[in-house]
Symmetry: D2
Subunit: 422 residues, 4 copies
């Protein structure tokens, strides 16, 4: 074999397959959407689908191509302004609440932009990129996976504003309904445990450093709280008793008139829920979703329990070997727990509110440059959610993952699992 | 000739030709728009193009077909909720600031809805409709013409939010620039004059009754105020001198940071204006557009003049025989006055603010039913504009026409003509 | 007689007696107030009593003493900032919504400030002031009379915020209740009439120029609308029928939850009203007070009538010789009409909303300088009220007087009288 | 000795002396205030001084007298409505942002109310109250001490709104200015330590349970950050560099135009600070005060350090024996650190922001009833401050004390001390 030729064949890029699969998944998610669906912004917290598709693409341009692909010229000079999210380091940008004003470029044009960048990244990786470039591509893929989940939750929010209750996708044939199993406590001993990402495989900066922490003996429910249990809370007047609520939560309940989870709807005595499959009868056995931290905390108080800390949750998950799903699942609604002993539903149904504010781990330091803006600057006023949801792309979840939202947010697939002191 | 047969051939409907032409014009206006362009709402005052197209169609359903076409079933039961504008009489409706949330039905589906209603109206008219039905079709046509102008001003506002400054239509070859002629005063004597619609031809309720009014001798400028004149006002510090402004206007100037008309933009010392042809160099000789009543009033004070009353304007127009254009004009920007003696630009360039609040004429009475909600309930807090603009469909304008907006609104094609006491 | 001595005795100042009496009346109005009562601002529209007392004093300093009293030094350099109301010409000032933050100077200190300025003005007038100075003193007195009425309406608003419903003054012994007489129409012929101030005696700039106006034949109610009539409107669902309301008024009704006039309160099926005498049973025969233009207009629509124009009101008042009260009246609540024929209650009970927006009379021109800011800059978005109220100081009202407020304001003593076309 | 008589002499009440001294201190704090000063509310976060004086008195009525003093009748039935703060358990109440509307009762009347309740409590305690009643009196005293500090910070905020910059008390003779000593790090080893209140003496519920926690080796600055150091941060552009700030903090900086601590004022190149002694030259050696958590966090980032956790702070204080002042100090402004080795200024100057969100300690449980609303319901969205300030009453501070505020609040005496990882 000709050694010269051998040298000319670069080592296969570890990031290439991930890149191809992640980018294809975004296109799959966009398929049911029309140009208008993909353009409108239903609230400042949400972004248009088109924006998600373009922003994740811009991320590869700004973080990879402009730094590692010699001679790469940005696809369009205005796109950096239009599709930067919040990187102060990377210049001014379209104000977040005005993302829905951008009717042009159209969805088709955004898909052309994606194709252009895909080709450039694939060329770069095929030609043998530096480890640093490979790492940034990997980060860009995980970043895009986050936006894939947001694309779904944002579309759900948008369609929920439409009195016609359109379905993002038509529902699969209904599963045969079954009861949720009785919840059971699983006990854990206290002591010094280690949590946080250990550096093997991908992890966000805020997941580390891995460190010791002290936990006290506790018990964790073996499954998620269900719609039926939440309905009992509603019917017991849970939304009308101030003593169950945090002060700020009670103010929110009254200001917004909250009386049930987001997307619940009562018609003629029956409960429905707006879903990505359109308006559907509420499944009592399925986990409750679309509740805020305020609501989760009040429910736990009403139930005589509490929410777990994130350390407790992670310790339970790792010590009992709970693993996130690795294969795609076409479901767009949470499903009931299996009737089997042991810890269930840690991943793949709904994110689980913990009582832990999102704060830096000991010795956490922000990275230099734009990447340093990724998580650290949000460490204030938010609570950590653990696990993953049905909308989390396969391969994206792990036990050390720290999702976070403000305590009044409800449009994510957010639910809860109870804990108590042992 | 067989008299029986003769009876079976209905008289040609007077409204049919109008209906066909008006409906076709809306389709022409929608042609350059994509689904996203037609769906997004850029501010609560504006509506999506799709909404204009659907609402005007619903008007024919609710006001004509449901009342005069036996057996007509509404195209979709939800459309009445989605596309009612403000008729309390006709039931609940999508809240105005949320009109932009309706991504489905898509623009294509709205065009199908239009075709369905067009066919039904044409069948009704062809079969010989009652005079009352004919009259409602005529009202519906004039109503749709109002929305045609709004469709254009709303699209301009939407596209102006886009940093890319897209063009709704590409500009026609530029006219050879010319100077505006010197403005001259035209004098009018005072006395009792008659104004208001005399009942011949179509007119809105608020244009009548025709009545006597007393005017004092006055002078009116023979042309509109130009961009060059407005620029002199800007450069003289007009936006910084509180003594020129109404108190509420001055508060607005400061709250919004107004320093020039809406859509003006300074770049490297040159002035540009966002238009339906995209971003274009400011034409100094053309009439200023997109100024509020507050600005028009302050300009007039600065110029040592005042705005005319609506009675003065109408008396000038009718006594000197000013007529609105009757044929289509593809222009999307105002053009300079001709260099010719006499009263110019009364119609077809920009609406002209008057100093008259929009109030009922003597003996005005609201109609019964939903039609009574047309104008009377807005007789508070708005000022009358007279004339018409380049965006007003041909055939829609007349000397007695009373347009009206709140004094802070700027997104219409609104300009001014000066007056003074004689 | 020694001519030298004769020259030394200046002519008696025409303004001196007015000044002394007006200033004493303010002190009388302040007497029931504590330091806290006089300091708090209950809403941006209202001002603290202390502010009224100081601002009217500052007006004499800025408009008279600083211009006409040689060597006069301002009492305190900061007072111009603190107590200027809205004169852009006269420099920056405490923002209106922050007037209630000024706990120091205290009420006692403000009274000392008043005494200082009183002495200076009296010295100036006693020494023989120029006609221009006399005229400004007269303007200052009328200005202070306006604030005397506002002081009372603002205190009522403040005390109405207090759950204890304190009384500003204890009520006089209750009059024997009596029924209001049946309302009757008084007819007026149309034609060209003259309205506006004729220059004899004091008048504000906006009351002139006196001018001709054309009115059509009309009828005016001989008395004000009563609480009993308003209660019938309430009970007939007047606040729940959108067709009675102006569009903006209906929005206000819903946004604020209006269901009755300001200060009405229902307890156990009985109606009460918060008054300057504290909480009192509603007097059915007395004129309704504290209604907005929106409410007055809706009531008139419900009653099958309309509000008069200001020209109609003034013509009726002058042609029938209605005169305002000239002597003080200790009443703090409106009283029922006498049972006597003819036009009643034109003055001295409640201001009467007209359907006329506050606009300039023909040939009105703003004065030069700070005085020019008095009225002209408010000629937008307000409606004219005519007559006067029980809180109007004696000598302040006249037939040409134009009071004006925004159509949503309710804290003045504002009521209505019906009119209709003849 | 007659045993019957002996039994009749109750044991001296432990709470009586505390009660007398705390109540007298409130009167001392109120002495410089007029009725208006004590009534106005300068922002929703602040309360009128009168309200503090009355609310703390109502607390003794509701929590002690009504429960433990047989036959006690409330002083005024309306006071429970007026002066309840946030106890949902104890009924409806005057909305917090409307506390400043209550001009009556006057300050004198509130002082009479205080005297009435003082006498009743003293009678109760003198007669021998139950341990539970004694405990509630003690809680009421500590509660009142909290309001004593707030009374001062709220008055400072109110007086800072007044362009005259009035002084609450005239300043004491100025101390001889001196430089702050160089800051030095003090090192601490990591490990499991105990923090929290141990039950000996008074402590709030949220200070316990005492519990183990794991800390890593760290260093703590031996003194507070000074005004001079903060000025360097200002001059280095600290308020203009987004990378130093939390995302929410950066939004706040821009929305409010923050460019320096609250109460700083630049005039002709010199820096001043509004204080309880009026406007005073900024003391460069004194600790910076009136900074928010956002600012403290940004400063620490700029300085290459971080804020301590509350566990680190408490461990440092207790392991090095830092003690709060026990005797009154008439100072109303922070003073520079002594030039002496060791940990300084842990108490008595300014509260110190920690990076710890205010969360429940392990096994914390809310008390039953109204007392349970004391702290637990605020465990969301706030950060812990440790130490105490010059405005903290003597005897109120301790090492386990957890003060807490939202991260944008600046009107407290809040400063910072730096930490870093060892």
């Amino acid at each position: 074999m000709n050694p010269t030729l051998a040298r000319a064949v670069p080592a296969p890029s570890p990031a290439l397959a991930l890149f191809a699969s992640v980018r294809a998944h975004s296109a799959h998610l966009a398929a049911p959407l029309g140009d208008a669906d993909a353009t409108v912004q239903s609230m400042p917290d949400a972004s248009p689908a088109k924006w998600h598709l373009a922003h994740t693409t811009w991320f590869f341009e700004a973080m990879v191509l402009e730094r590692f692909a010699p001679g790469y010229a940005p696809y369009s000079p205005s796109f950096s302004y239009l599709f930067n999210s919040y990187y102060e380091t990377l210049g001014p940008r379209q104000p977040r609440p005005r993302r829905g004003m951008i009717t042009r470029p159209s969805l088709d044009e955004i898909m052309a932009y994606r194709a252009h960048v895909d080709a450039a990244i694939e060329r770069l990786l095929a030609a043998g990129a530096s480890p640093e470039a490979e790492e940034m591509v990997e980060l860009g893929c995980h970043h895009e996976q986050q936006h894939q989940e947001l694309l779904l939750t944002d579309i759900l929010h948008l369609f929920a504003q439409n009195p016609l209750h359109p379905a993002y996708r038509e529902p699969a044939p209904a599963a045969v309904g079954h009861e949720a199993p009785e919840a059971a406590w699983i006990g854990f001993e206290g002591g010094i445990v280690e949590i946080g990402h250990d550096g093997a495989g991908f992890g966000y900066d805020c997941e580390g450093p891995r460190h010791r922490t002290l936990i006290e003996p506790f018990r964790l429910s073996d499954r998620l709280v269900t719609n039926a249990e939440w309905l009992a809370f509603v019917e017991a007047g849970g939304y009308r008793d101030p003593l169950l609520w945090l002060s700020e939560g009670w103010a929110q309940v009254n200001a917004e008139g909250w009386a049930h989870p987001l997307y619940w709807l009562e018609r003629d005595g029956l409960w429905w829920s707006m879903t990505l499959n359109g308006l559907q009868p509420l499944d009592p056995a399925a986990p409750v979703a679309h509740v805020s931290y305020f609501e989760a905390d009040a429910f736990a108080a009403w139930a005589g329990a509490r929410l777990p800390t994130e350390a407790e949750w992670e310790h339970a998950a790792t010590s009992l070997g709970a693993l996130p799903p690795q294969t795609p699942d076409a479901r767009l609604r949470p499903k009931p727990a299996e009737d089997a002993p042991g810890l269930k539903q840690m991943f793949g149904e709904v994110w689980q509110w913990t009582r832990s504010p999102f704060t830096p781990y000991p010795r956490f330091a922000k990275a230099e440059g734009a990447v340093g803006e990724y998580n650290g600057k949000f460490m204030c006023g938010q609570f950590v959610l653990r696990g993953s949801s049905l909308a989390t792309p396969p391969g994206h979840a792990r036990a050390s993952y720290r999702n976070f939202f403000q305590p009044d947010k409800r449009w994510q697939f957010s639910g809860l699992r109870l804990a108590e002191d042992a």
